[in-house]
């Protein structure tokens, strides 16, 4: 069983795209005595190399992103409420009425809601667009709000975390779960050398990974991510992408990448040998840093290992501890295999 305490710490932090510093610092702290060498590049990516007992034949990169979806303050209304724009693909059905925190002073706020009692019948079914929403921080006026909040401040959902019954419900599991797996691998004694990148700005266009892959210039890459699971009522079985509890998800194709076939076959074979339950992603949907990494320089052979996550890009996602362990195991096994393939 994995010790989840570091995952909890990661999920309780806020770090929307472009504002990942707290996450980066926590990971650096966790790696302090791991024997890994840490560099920070110009974008804020954390590039970490760790020597194994033996030299790797191939340079293998494991990558996870530190940022999460959220919002940015674009203006302050005369009544003291804040205007927002989304940062990354926030599930906009899941925004209205939520608790948020604003800026580096962590000001409490609420995405205010026109009372249901005062709605016309058709309004009761209508999802409000984010540009029509406002955050109430309790300020009386623009003049008062500006004392506590600046334009451009990051806004994130209020952190939350539970891990009862082998089920993890938390904010920002996409992709703190990936950061957790990489950090915990780096803390172990490894057979071969590996490089890990904890990257910024995935949610706004795979930006950090592009720079990281350029600098590291790997032969192989494994992107460790969270992916949409829609094994929920109302979605039929042919459309559920992947299922929570059935193990790590391996992809053949998504919207940003056609994955390396040989790597995928090797992963499926390895999973069978090591008795690790995995599942294939059953849709060409979503995308992740593999899109930037596999096209880096003259090309990088890339695979993705994803955690099935329900309610991704909302205030609270859901994954299973079983899938987390399965992902941890297949990522570690494949990192060692690809090092000497």
């Amino acid at each position: 069983m994995l010790d989840l305490s570091f995952l909890k710490k990661l999920c309780l932090l806020s770090g929307i795209s472009g504002d990942e510093k707290k996450v980066s610092e926590l990971i650096q702290k966790r790696l302090r005595d791991s024997g890994a060498e840490i560099n920070i590049d110009g974008m804020g990516n954390l590039l970490v190399t760790k020597k194994g007992r033996k030299r790797a034949k191939n340079k293998v990169l494991l990558s996870a992103h530190m940022d999460e979806v959220g919002f940015i303050v674009t203006d302050i209304n005369s009544d003291g409420t804040l205007r927002l724009e989304t940062v990354g693909g926030v599930d906009r059905k899941a925004v209205y009425g939520k608790n948020v925190i604003v800026g580096k002073n962590c000001i409490n706020g609420v995405i205010s809601v026109k009372p249901v009692h005062l709605l016309k019948p058709d309004e009761k079914d209508t999802v409000i667009p984010v540009d029509k929403m406002a955050v109430d921080i309790g300020a009386e006026s623009r003049e008062e709000a500006i004392k506590y909040v600046s334009l451009g401040d990051s806004v994130s959902f209020v952190p939350n975390y539970n891990d009862d019954n082998g089920i993890i419900m938390a904010k920002a599991l996409d992709d703190r779960a990936g950061c957790y797996i990489l950090t915990e691998i780096l803390r172990q004694e490894l057979e071969y050398d590996i490089t890990c990148s904890f990257v910024v700005q995935e949610e706004i266009g795979l930006r950090g990974a592009k720079a990281a892959a350029y600098t590291i210039d790997p032969d192989f890459a494994i992107v460790v991510e969270a992916t949409t699971a829609s094994d929920i009522p109302g979605c039929d079985d042919t459309n559920n992408v992947c299922c929570v509890g059935n193990g790590a998800v391996l992809s053949f194709m998504d919207r940003s990448t056609i994955y390396d076939k040989e790597c995928l076959q090797l992963a499926l074979k390895t999973a069978q040998e090591k008795k690790i339950n995995v599942q294939l992603k059953r849709a060409v949907a979503g995308g992740n840093d593999a899109g930037a990494i596999h096209t880096s320089r003259s090309g990088v052979r890339t695979m993705a290992v994803s955690l099935p996550c329900r309610y991704i890009h909302s205030q609270t996602g859901l994954i299973s501890a079983y899938d987390l362990e399965s992902s941890f195991n297949i990522v570690k096994e494949m990192a060692m295999k690809l090092a000497v393939i």
């Binding site: 599930d91 419900m169 309610y311």
Partner: protein
């Protein structure tokens, strides 16, 4: 005030299962009043001159909106119906708690954007409210029962200007106000009996207050609830201003004299107040209390609240304290007038 309100809001009490909130209130009011619970769970606290002919009831409903479990499927998903007027636009991917023997966290199911085929413009429909605990069906059926309630998760939080946000401020804010009033009155020499009735099941047709008012049959009553505070999209004639003091109700169903005397009391205390005028019924317990038995003269005082019926309602602690003070002043004046 803040601690009392946070304790009341942290407790969960969806309509028909208000026990944990009642327990907190009983413990506090039991230090100065005779407190009993009736068959519907209403908490009835009596103090002042207990054998006086004249009695004043202060009512605040103790329940909060939530949902009730109607079905558990084989995959462990839970279907529920609203308990009270829940806003369906805010439910998807919101975190909730199932109030089983041990609270179980769950998330309201939300179809991922890439699968919702244009339907993501729509709120989830009332007959399709599913909740996800992640626990398998077999295991879940052992720990969750049909009829268990579901509430918003989360804790009260402070905002700027002495304001707070929480679930259940409708109507724990009112409960806190009448309990504060009780605290102010407990050492006073009163000529009348004061009855604080924390009534249940308001969010489902005001069921608690009907029987509480019948059995107490007070000489007069004042209901204390929350009402709309001004915010974007809310018309000013239908709302009060947050931090501008108690909203004193004026409506055909309310007793004119009580409304006037409440205004006088506010003036005596030199406190800010605002009038809330309604053309018919008030949508509060005042509507049912006033028509109980042969009729009970009833007034209404409300606390302005934003984002009503969500998991993040907003009130000002100043307004709650002001309502408590206004009620205390009103009762003191009535106590002199009726002896």
């Amino acid at each position: 005030m803040k601690n009392l309100l946070f304790d009341l809001c942290s407790a969960n009490g969806v309509s028909g299962e208000e026990g944990s909130v009642a327990k907190i209130a009983k413990l506090i009011m039991g230090t100065y009043a005779n407190v009993e619970c009736d068959v519907n769970g209403n908490v009835i606290a009596e103090f002042g001159k207990l054998d006086a002919k004249y009695s004043i009831m202060l009512d605040a409903h103790i329940d909060q909106i939530g949902l009730i479990i109607t079905h558990i499927d084989s995959n462990g998903f839970v279907k529920a119906s609203p308990c009270g007027g829940i806003d369906r636009r805010i439910l998807q991917a919101e975190k909730f708690l199932i109030l089983a023997d041990k609270p179980i966290p769950c998330i309201c199911c939300s179809t991922p954007p890439h699968l919702s085929s244009g339907n993501d413009e729509k709120a989830v429909s009332a007959d399709n409210l599913w909740f996800d605990t992640g626990i398998s069906g077999d295991k879940l059926k052992d720990i969750v029962s049909l009829g268990d309630r579901i509430v918003f998760d989360g804790h009260p939080r402070e905002l700027l200007n002495n304001r707070v946000t929480s679930k259940a401020l409708d109507n724990r804010a009112g409960v806190a106000a009448v309990m504060y009033c009780g605290d102010l009155l407990k050492k006073q020499d009163l000529n009348c009996k004061v009855i604080i009735s924390l009534s249940t099941r308001e969010e489902v047709n005001m069921l608690g207050a009907r029987t509480a008012a019948f059995s107490c049959y007070p000489s007069e009553a004042v209901a204390v609830d929350v009402s709309f505070a001004k915010q974007s999209g809310v018309p000013s004639e239908k709302s009060g201003n947050i931090d501008e003091g108690p909203m004193i109700g004026i409506a055909p169903v309310l007793d004119k004299e009580i409304s006037e005397k409440l205004i006088t009391a506010a003036k005596v205390k030199k406190m800010k107040y605002q009038c809330e005028v309604m053309g018919g019924a008030t949508g509060t317990n005042a509507d049912v209390i006033s028509s109980t038995r042969g009729g009970i003269r009833t007034g209404l005082v409300s606390i302005p609240l934003r984002s009503m019926h969500t998991g993040a309602e907003i009130v000002s602690l100043n307004d709650i304290a002001a309502v408590g003070e206004l009620l205390a002043e009103y009762v003191l004046e009535r106590s002199i007038a009726v002896c």
